[in-house]
Amino acid sequence: MDKLIGKMKKNSLFIKMFLIMCISIIVVSVAITFAMLQMSEKQFIKTYSMTNEKMMDQITTNIEKYGSFGVSVIHKAEESPVVKDYLRNSDAEILTTINDYYGIRDWVNAYYDFLLPYEGINIVFMGENDRFYSSNYVNWPISEELLKTHPITKNTLKDTERVHIQFFRGTETKISQIEPTVVISKALTDANHTYGLIYISIRERDFKSMYEKYVGLNSEMYLLEESGKILSSNRMDLSEEEQNDLLQSMIKAENGGHTELHLNDKKYLLFSQRLPYLDMYLVNLIDVKELKHSLVNKKVVFMISAAIVLVALLIVFLISNRFTQSHSKLIKEIARLGQQNFDGYVSESKNYEVNQISTTFNRMLDQLHHYIEQVMVMEKRKRTAELAALQYQISPHFLYNTLASIKILIRQQSPDQAIQMMDALIHLLQTTIGNVSETHRIEEEVTYLENYVYINHLRYGEAIRVRYLIHPDSLDCEIPKLFIQPFVENAFFHGFNVKKSGALQILVYLKNDQLICEVIDNGDGIAANPQEKRHHFTGIGIENVRERIRLRYGEEFGVEILSTLGEGTKVKMNFPIIKSK
């Protein structure tokens, strides 16, 4: 997890860039998809409505054509004496009956051809004399018995002037199965006397074929009787309540116009048209949801959009990854360089901007290295100068005193002692001035110290005794020149201000692969106060010595001072073991 977050931080530019691209691509494509869908839906419904109205016109034409055939057959029948004879004459003579039968048969056959374009038609006559004629029994196998009491007949007789169009619900009788049928009927009258009825029936499925082929998949077509009862439909399973709803909204809708209707929680577009010829209504319901669905398969559109978005994202991912790769590589390298003291360069990149940055950075690194080198050289020179200054620090005071002492010795007639003192002084000066190298062997340092102590003993007496404990193994080890002397000098001049006498030990030995030099006195000692300590060692510059040792040999080497008031002081220096060649 932390690793992941770390990784993300490293690539944050890429992630930010990619996220922004992601969001914008998705937002844009979703917005475009929705806008497009909305627009095309609206446009589609508009065009659909227009074509639908044309379709309604076409259906109206078809049905009215059929209606006019029917009505004209009815008119012809009303005028026909043959029909009247068949329906009015009573069964006095069987031959009359047969002749009447032949008459109506011929008459119907003549007009039957007229209706031939339509399938499933039957022309039925029923007379007051109980005569019945069914011209194509198979298409509407109705019996006189059934028809006589049927509501269709009753309704027709209620209004004898009008042509009725009604729906005959399909039934099963003992002898036949009667399909749902659409029946045009009229009473045949002569001077207010009804002598018979004519029925022109067409099977509902054949009637349906007049409009079905125009009706789209998501469209429901209803033909309603004037009363609102369904005559024919490509969907016959509407409940009565739904039929009422349908009728209500149909009445609301303008003739030939369209309105919206909610039925069964579904939204429909309702187109309606009145067919005055047959007193019926043509109603077309279009399921808006299904219509939209059939316009575009939203699923596919969304799938395609999603696919495009995915591909775009993939491309964006790869490209931005490529663009930011050099960037994050640069950052990684810089971080690495930081850990390695800027030792090295960042690699060059093909990306122009990043390349500029990295070359500039490299140039900057170069200059930085250059400056640091310069500073180092300067610093080194400064140190050497300081060291030289320290090394040359045989104070004129010491020289004056020593020379004065020599003069006194000569005056006291002790030439040997004077010569010895002068030899010691010469040796001191030789060590200090003569040898240019920075280091010398312990042996030489010890000789130097012996000469120095000798001079001091001659001048001030031997109240402070000096002992040398030098391990033979360390004799040929190299140490920086005159590093021990200042501490010995310090002990002579400051360590015994109170006690006046005591001992001084100089130890040199090897321990733990280190060269240890110790200057131990049992003089006054100093308090643990660092302020005072510094004061005590003013002439030497303890810090200076420590710094120089560290600079020269590294962190683990240096100088250490332990002191207790009244008990003495111990100065301990450690150096690496460097054998003289």
């Binding site: 069987i94 031959l95 047969i98 039968y101 019945f132 006189e144 596919v300």
Partner: protein, 423 residues
């Protein structure tokens, strides 16, 4: 870099194309084992086909799809389809009435698939083989028999002092004589006829081994046709003596005997289920041979209606032929089921010895009606119906009208002959 981009573009393009192609695979393939059939009458012909589908036990799976159409619709659809020279939208199997079969076979000889190899013509009633064959080759698989019978109400006969035996193997004149007496006594018509449909004339003529046409199936023989003349005479006598009433459609025919207003029915055996439909009359009916024409060659057996299955020369014709051959052409048990479940009597002779044929029907006073009808079926005189049955009848109906209205019999038949010849 450029190559990567290019690959990405190609891949995405392919992906999108792939998306677009998805919709192309939804097309459903019509099952090759589906055979379609056109037939009319759901209670009879279609029920028989559906029964056959169950009985089928051939090697290949077959799914039968029966499309119901009125007979007239089938005729007009066949005529339009075949005349246009295309078999597109046509079924594999079609049911055609025997009277019309020759007209189709002769007009469209290449359209029908020869069934000679699929069945044995000798297995079928001889009178059915003639209309279903052309030039010695079988094209139709004979289905139901239209063997005629005289269905009589025994109770009414008894009431008027007659027995069933009195009506067995009689002539039409004897029938009319007794009928007049019964009419007088009970007020009931002996039978009803439809003046607009000469079915009665048709079976009368065939009962004497004659037809409207010569044996060649082409030449009209309306004049000088003793059987036709005798039939006309009997028909007119039936009406004028008030022995026969009239009906103008199927429902009136059925209403007549179902309501007990008619004493007898002379029809094809397919009327049996309709008679039995009126359960209150169970035990009151008997079936006897129809009366014969009183002329040389006249027998007490004839045929009315009946149809056969034909296979069209479309894809799947072998399967359709195999289906018919496996069921209607060979399966004796299937014919037993046909009688038991549909009440249809086939014309496949080996099946007639089966159990169902010997059934004693309680409705008909335990008479073995199927056995009897089958026996009469074998006596039906075979005739060549030829190609113009209904055209002849259109002429004859008009002439019958003239005859009923008093014109001379000879003259009306000569007129009819003239009209037929001029057609």
């Amino acid at each position: 870099m450029k190559r990567t981009l290019f690959i990405i573009l190609i891949v995405s393009a392919l992906f999108l194309v792939g998306c677009g192609n998805d919709s192309g695979n939804g097309k459903s393939k019509d099952n090759e084992n589906t055979i379609t059939a056109w037939a009319w009458d759901p209670k009879f012909n279609i029920a028989a086909l559906e029964l056959a589908e169950k009985a089928y036990d051939g090697e290949e799976e077959i799914e039968l799809k029966v499309i119901e159409n009125a007979q007239d619709d089938i005729i007009s659809k066949l005529n339009t389809g075949l005349a246009s020279g295309t078999l597109k939208g046509m079924p594999n199997i079609v049911l055609i009435e025997d009277y019309r079969a020759q007209s189709f076979l002769q007009s469209y000889p290449d359209v029908f698939y020869e069934l000679t190899d699929y069945l044995n013509p000798e297995d079928f009633a001889e009178y059915k083989v003639t209309p279903t064959s052309l030039e010695g080759k079988m094209y139709g698989l004979p289905f139901d028999t239209g063997v005629t019978g005289l269905y009589v109400r025994t109770d009414i006969l008894e009431e008027a002092g007659y027995t069933v035996e009195d009506f067995t193997n009689i002539t039409w004149d004897e029938y009319i004589e007794m009928g007049k007496d019964i009419k007088e006594k009970t007020g009931k018509y002996m039978m009803t006829v439809d003046p607009g449909d000469l079915g009665t004339i048709r079976f009368m003529v065939q009962s004497a081994g004659e037809w409207y046409l010569d044996e060649d199936g082409q030449t009209p023989t309306l004049a000088n046709n003793k059987a036709l003349a005798e039939s006309f005479r009997v028909y007119k006598t039936l009406i004028t003596e008030k022995v026969a009433g009239i009906h103008t459609d199927w429902s009136q025919l059925l209403a007549g005997f179902n309501n007990g207003e008619v004493v007898s029915i002379a029809q094809g055996s397919w009327i049996t289920p309709s008679v039995k439909a009126e359960e209150s009359q169970a035990g009151l009916w008997a079936v006897v041979p129809i009366p014969r024409l009183d002329i040389p060659g006249g027998v007490n057996a004839s045929n009315l209606g009946g149809s056969s299955f034909y296979v069209l020369n479309t894809d799947g014709k072998e399967k359709a032929a195999e289906f018919l051959s496996n069921t209607f052409g060979a399966n004796e048990d299937f014919y037993q089921q046909l009688i038991e479940e549909v009440g249809a009597i086939g014309t496949y002779m080996p099946a007639t010895t089966g159990e169902a044929y010997k059934e004693k029907d309680a409705f008909f006073q335990y008479q073995e009606i199927y056995a009897d009808l089958t026996e009469w079926m074998e006596q039906i005189p075979p005739v060549n119906y030829g190609v113009h049955t209904y055209a002849m009848e259109d002429i004859l109906i008009v002439e019958m009208q003239n005859y009923l209205n008093g014109q001379e019999l000879e003259k009306v038949l000569e007129n009819a002959q003239k009209q037929a010849e001029s057609q």
